[in-house]
């Protein structure tokens, strides 16, 4: 007999799937499409000035606090400042690549530091840091991202 929480989860999933299917062909609110910038292409990931990105990219309002709150326990980050420095260090030292974010369905630029298993993502225009965390499955996770240009 499955636990009640499992049954409730299954029920919730059925409800949202039915609701989404009834309301529109593509369930959920639209994610605004973003035109490809000259700085990157679908098939490649031209080199970028990682020093500039690490220095100038910013977290959107409230985003750093939220991300530290959710991912802060994954690494040796005492506070949001240390977490932010780790995100920027990953940009400087990690291998850069592009991929399609699964939920957003937009292209992102990723940076992966294999030695520390650290991942940072920024928007295609390189203005915003969108996340930083340590993937559960390490390097494999960035290889398997949709349209990932990451090469071992």
């Amino acid at each position: 007999m499955p636990p009640v929480s499992l049954l409730r989860c299954l029920f919730a999933l059925v409800l949202v799937c039915l609701g989404g299917a009834c309301s529109r062909a593509e369930p959920g609110p639209p994610v605004a499409p973003v035109s490809a910038s000259p700085a990157s292409t679908v098939t490649g990931s031209p080199s970028v000035d990682v020093t500039r990105i690490a220095r100038d990219a910013t977290w959107a309002p409230g985003s750093l606090v939220d991300h530290f709150g959710k991912h802060g326990n994954e690494g040796p980050w005492a506070d949001a400042g240390a977490y932010d420095r780790s995100a920027r260090d990953t940009i400087r030292t990690g291998r850069d690549f592009t991929y399609i974010d699964r939920t957003a369905n937009v292209r992102r630029r990723g940076f992966y530091d294999a030695s520390g298993n650290r991942f940072t993502s920024v928007t295609e225009d390189l203005r915003r840091i969108t996340t930083h965390f340590r993937p559960d499955t390490g390097e494999r996770s960035v290889v398997l991202l949709p349209e990932s240009t990451y090469r071992r």
């Binding site: 989860c9 989404g20 605004a32």
Partner: protein, 109 residues
């Protein structure tokens, strides 16, 4: 039926986010998400945690995080918080400008 038989993926995630936005009073058919990011954490049901922002028809912007409530045994948008002065905060973001166009049908002035 087990978890690994449940259809999951971005469509499911966006459907869940849409329903939760409705619960927060944001019409999911008249809003647009931007700066959405998959967060590499798998929630019950195989749905991936995600974060982002939503621009509503009233011009307000909220930041959200798709997560799982252990107490309610349900998906939730938590944290959920309004961003003050969103045009000033996001005016330089291409994704916000596109969200604005999607909601209001024109470029932001």
């Amino acid at each position: 039926m087990t978890f690994d038989r449940i259809p999951s993926g971005p469509r499911t995630s966006r459907a869940i986010i849409g329903h939760l936005l409705d619960a927060h009073g944001v019409d999911r058919l008249a809003c647009a998400l931007f700066l959405v990011q998959s967060e590499g954490v798998t929630l019950p049901g195989g749905v991936e945690a995600a974060s982002g922002y939503v621009l509503g028809r009233d011009g307000r912007v909220h930041r959200w995080w798709l997560s799982w409530s252990e107490t309610a045994n349900a998906y939730q948008l938590s944290p959920w918080a309004e961003v003050t002065d969103p045009v000033d905060a996001f005016g330089g973001d291409a994704e916000f400008r596109d969200a604005w166009s999607a909601v209001f049908g024109r470029e932001r002035d």
